[in-house]
């Protein structure tokens, strides 16, 4: 299980390829890639702040929960921090399981957690300046599906 925070752009395809290597008992790998939206010019850039050592530990704990709940063989989470331009990947989640249902559901579960409860602080830079963003009601109700 790996959780990585990085301030550098990453290439999701290379991460999927590496994640699939050497898995003889894994029947299913599900992946999710989140990209930064331009919001029709309203978001020139996103800025994500993390607390190194705290944020990655919190994501690691929820990845352990997912691994147990969905009987995963492995999990890989990569999350950008710092300034992110529209179109760049913000988050990559890969889950490996014996069968597809567990892999899909674990990926969905992890993303709902990451979007609503993970310890990040998000600022959107737009034409009218910068503003701090909080989770939307939709993010919260999505996460509550798993409680």
């Amino acid at each position: 299980m790996t959780v990585t925070l990085t301030d550098q752009p990453f290439e999701p395809g290379a991460l999927v390829t590496a994640f699939c290597v050497g898995r003889e008992e894994t029947g299913a790998v599900a992946t999710f890639v989140g990209l930064a939206r331009a919001e029709n010019g309203q978001a020139a850039a996103l800025e994500l702040e993390a607390y190194p050592g705290f944020t990655d530990a919190a994501i690691g704990e929820i990845a352990e929960v997912a691994a147990k709940r969905f009987r995963l063989h492995d999990v890989h989470v990569v999350h950008r921090v710092g300034r992110i331009a529209p179109g760049e990947a913000i988050v990559f989640v890969a889950t490996a399981a014996g069968h597809r249902r567990e892999a899909f559901e674990a990926c969905d579960f992890l993303m709902d957690y990451l979007k609503s409860r993970a310890p990040f602080w998000k600022k959107e830079h737009g034409p009218d300046g910068a503003r701090w963003i909080e989770p939307t009601d939709r993010d919260r109700t999505d996460a509550e599906r798993w409680d």
Binding site: G34, Y51, G53, F54, H79, K115, F120, W121, D139
Partner: protein, 79 residues
């Protein structure tokens, strides 16, 4: 004494994000920060602001050593 970290809008409001402050426990730390910057003092006790001592969330009081790291965490946005 403790190393104090501010995140998100708290750091923007205070104009700093990392500072060493003389204090023996969390309440004296909050007092010292509020004395230097009353509006920051208010923001630190606002609803939704959590405190982590050495990267673990603490509710209530905690003693501080010179090597303790105290982080004030405003409501988290998710990624």
């Amino acid at each position: 004494m403790a190393r104090v970290l501010l995140f998100g809008r708290l750091a923007d409001q205070a104009g700093w994000r990392d500072r060493v402050v003389e204090a023996i426990d969390l309440s004296s730390l909050r007092g010292a920060l509020a004395a230097a910057d009353p509006s920051l003092g208010e923001a630190l006790v606002a609803p939704g602001v959590q405190v982590a001592v050495d990267k673990a969330i603490v509710r209530g009081e905690a003693a501080l050593s010179p090597f303790t790291e105290v982080a004030f965490l405003p409501p988290m946005s998710g990624g």
